[in-house]
Amino acid sequence: MNWNWSHVDDFMPLFWDGVQLTLKALFFGTLIAFSLGLVWAIAQRSERKWIRWPVTAVTEFIRSTPLLVQLFFLFYVVPQWGPSMSPLTTGIVGLGLHYSTYTSEVYRAGIEGVPAGQWEAATAVSLSRRRTWTAVILPQAVRRVIPALGNYVIIMLKESPQMAAIGALDMLGQAQGYSQATFTYEAISVVGVAFIVIAYPASVLLRVLERRLVR
């Protein structure tokens, strides 16, 4: 076996830079995914067909196609007629957009889980539509969707290395850069282990949270 621990040591400073960028992308990507997903979910419950139908079609399309190709699309195609984005920004937008179509399903299930009687009761005390959503429906829905949303954060973490394909220097990007510059191969292992070390405790934590929150 050919293994050299000194390469691992040398890689460490770059690794921590990569961790920072990965977490940054994850944080902002999550923000987008959580908020945009809610928009999709509410739009899909709209009574107007011309809102409901296109939103359903677009989210279905985004969800059924690879994040990697979407990243390429955002990075190479969008600048032809829109804004040019850095690899990191592209990664954030891509992750956020892609996973917003998943979180919208989570919200939808959460909203559908609120008993119909709650809508009727809100109507009966003549709450406005806006108040019905913000004061009655969403507070009840959010509780039960938190564990599922949390799981998507972990999934986004694991999918985030795809940013490296458009040149972002996340954990994987740094490892690739280091490996190619030094003709070594230890760095990828460090990153691989790092993902397990972050993702596993996070999922254990979520399961505990789920047991607390759901019922």
Binding site: M1, N2, W3, E60, F61, R63, S64, T65, P66, L67, L68, V69, Q70, F72, F73, Y76, V77, Q80, E105, V106, A109, G110, G113, R144, V145, I146, P147, A148, N151, Y152, I154, I155, L157, K158, E159, S160, P161, Q162, A165, M171, L172, A175, Q176, S179, Y185, E186, I188, S189, V191, G192, F195, I196, A199, Y200, S203, R207, E210, V214
Partner: protein, 244 residues
């Protein structure tokens, strides 16, 4: 604009590679999922623990990083060499096998305990109970979540382009470098993936209908345009039931 020559030389073979990678890694995941899923319900804790460890480790693994690791770290460290496609299929099969094992476990756990008891009362061995009673009943319940996972896997196959397997995405990339006309290329690519996902879903619905008929359940009707996702109580990717 894309030349038809390029389409024929790269895109169609790329489509074929994408299908191959999807099929092979799905087969590997399937072969892994059943033993792991079943062993996670084993009565000996050490067996449950080891099978559970497989699930936890590979569910926490980033498939792209794992793929890079197999493709670029394993060969020099262990002095072996293999085709990039082999690395891609291995990485996808192993990680999706972990997700799929959760589907198998969940569906087995959903078989009513009374069925197990009826099996004991007829003096079946544990293995006979599994094979004759529990798995046949759990199987139709597995198909909708397997469907969702298969779509995730199809999307995941695009990652193999990053370890130089000439799949559809790789062809698209190459085409962009040559023609520099990325808009139609990536649009076509996205549409192709969507169509593949749609076709796979139709196939899985047929399979589900067939499976339900075989266990005496009336299949529910879904329209032709019933979407690309199946609704299921088990979600292997997020690992949550209930709220999802």
């Amino acid at each position: 604009m894309m030349s038809s020559e390029f389409l024929g030389n790269w895109f169609l073979p790329g489509l074929w590679i994408t299908l191959q990678v999807t099929f092979l890694s799905a087969a590997l995941a399937f072969v892994i999922a059943f033993p792991i899923g079943v062993l996670r319900t084993h009565r000996l804790w050490i067996v449950r623990f080891l099978a559970g460890a497989y699930f936890e480790i590979f569910r926490s693994t980033s498939s792209l990083v794992f793929m890079y690791w197999i493709a670029f770290t394993v060969p020099p460290v262990f002095n072996i060499s293999f085709q990039p496609m082999f690395a891609g299929v291995l990485a996808l099969g192993i990680t999706y096998g972990a997700y799929a094992s959760e589907i198998v476990r969940g569906a087995l756990a959903a078989v009513p305990p009374a069925q197990r008891e009826a099996g004991i009362a007829l003096n079946f061995t544990p293995f006979q109970r599994l094979r004759r009673i529990e798995l046949p009943q759990a199987w139709p319940e597995m198909i909708p979540p397997f469907n969702n996972l298969l779509i995730e896997l199809l999307k995941g196959t695009s990652l193999v382009s990053l370890i130089a397997v000439a799949d559809m995405t790789f062809a698209g990339d190459l085409l962009r470098l040559v023609t520099n006309d990325s808009a139609p290329i990536y649009t076509l690519l996205l549409v192709l993936y969507f169509v593949l996902a749609f076709v796979l879903t139709r196939g899985m619905r047929l399979l589900e209908r067939h499976a339900k008929k075989r266990v005496g359940q009336a299949p529910e009707k879904t329209g032709l345009f019933g979407g690309v996702r199946a609704t299921s109580s088990i979600d292997a990717v997020t690992g949550t039931g209930g709220a999802k």
